[in-house]
């Protein structure tokens, strides 16, 4: 009788463990599958919120990893580009003041490129321009 109870309990435990195993398997495979340059700590919702709140400095700071080569999801690329634009605008003034003329020009050229790639965000770009102190 006791053996039967133990057997039933162990079968139930096996079933639970098997379900747990099947549930874990896809997660583990997904977690281990990655490309070498990836930034999974970037949170698209966060950057979107800060852009909505017009906190362009935070968006600039959050999007910095893409300047270092991080890959982001296609659907979020525009938000990061807006952040990148804000960061380049912020830094270009420092580069210009530090006589890093080439770097300042590179920043401006990249900013122009971003603007031309995203004409539907003209209003946001204008607001970002206004947000940078001393910028008209």
């Amino acid at each position: 009788m006791i053996k039967k109870v133990i057997l039933i309990l162990s079968l139930v435990a096996n079933l639970v463990l098997a379900i747990f195993l099947i549930g874990l398997l896809p997660k583990a495979i997904e977690e281990l599958h990655f490309s070498y340059v990836e930034r999974d700590t970037i949170l698209p919702n966060t950057i979107r919120n800060y852009l909505d709140w017009e906190n362009y400095g935070v968006a600039a700071s959050l999007s910095r990893p893409i300047r270092g080569g991080a890959q982001v999801f296609e659907e979020d690329a525009d938000y990061y580009k807006l952040g990148e634009y804000a960061e380049l605008l912020f830094l270009s003034k420092v580069f210009a003041a530090a006589q890093n003329t080439d770097t300042a020009e590179k920043c401006e050229s990249r900013m122009t490129q971003i603007r031309s790639e995203m004409p539907s965000y003209d209003t946001v770009f204008d607001k970002i321009d206004q947000s940078c102190p001393g910028q008209q």
Binding site: E31, P65, F90, L91
Partner: protein, 246 residues
């Protein structure tokens, strides 16, 4: 035992004497015992086989349970630590790609783009504390504080016309703290900077930090001296004045 007829040595269970051929009656008792033991042994074996067969499902189930448990724990560990495995893999890849990455990082440095440099370093998990990047250790240490300083200044200065700034006081405190961190890290490292292969970039980083304070906080050289000479409360009051009221 000896044969009663010829006196030769015989086995305890022999039926006939191998020497004189006489049927042995003296070993009959032994043979009967032997038959009894054989039968008893077979019965015991049968019983054992029966018990074993009865317990087999339980044993198999327990073995499967142990295997599943080990597999679950191993898989959970892998899923939970995948980030570390990934970080290690990216770090090893960065060490393998040293020549390419070092060239790219040098371009960032030559441009004076230290935030871009630090972003590249972080995304590619460059381990500046070990070969082959160990000569960048001090540069990265100060660069980290510089990048944070730029972030904090961006966060307190860049607002759109209809922006909502939810925590101005705490953001300004963070910014103030970061300004102090950067300058104290730089000052504490002064004795090492002159011997560092990247000393020119580190000094340029400091010059850019000075410019950041000048452009975005209105602190020129004199202003900076006065700012750093004043108390923490006065420094924060100055930042609040510039960032909120102005």
């Amino acid at each position: 035992m000896k044969c009663n007829s010829c006196g030769a040595e015989i086995g305890l269970t022999d039926k006939v004497c191998p020497y004189c051929g006489r049927a042995l009656t003296e070993t009959a008792g032994y043979r009967a015992d032997m038959d009894y033991y054989k039968e008893d042994s077979a019965t015991t074996k049968k019983k054992a086989d029966k018990i074993r067969a009865k317990n087999a499902p339980l044993v198999i189930s327990v073995v499967v349970m142990v295997i599943l448990l080990v597999a679950d724990i191993a898989l959970y560990y892998v899923a939970d630590r995948a980030f570390l495995f990934r970080t290690d893999a990216v770090r090893r890849e960065s060490a393998r790609q040293y020549e390419t990455y070092a060239k790219t990082m040098q371009e960032y440095l030559d441009d004076g783009d230290y935030t871009g440099f630090m972003a590249f370093k972080e995304v590619h998990e460059i381990a500046e504390w070990e070969a082959p990047y160990e000569d960048m250790r001090l540069l990265c240490e100060i660069g980290k504080e510089y990048a944070s300083l730029v972030s904090k200044l961006e966060e307190v200065t860049m607002f759109g016309p209809e922006a909502s700034w939810y925590r101005p006081e705490s953001d300004i405190q963070d910014c103030h703290r970061q300004i102090r961190y950067f300058y104290s890290t730089f000052d504490d490292s002064l004795s090492m900077i002159d011997e560092d292969p990247y000393k020119d970039y580190i000094y340029d980083m400091k010059a850019k930090a000075d410019l950041l304070l000048e452009i975005y906080l209105g602190l020129d050289e004199t202003g900076r001296s006065e700012f750093f000479a004043s108390s923490d409360i006065r420094q924060e009051a100055y930042l609040e004045e510039v960032l909120i009221h102005d």
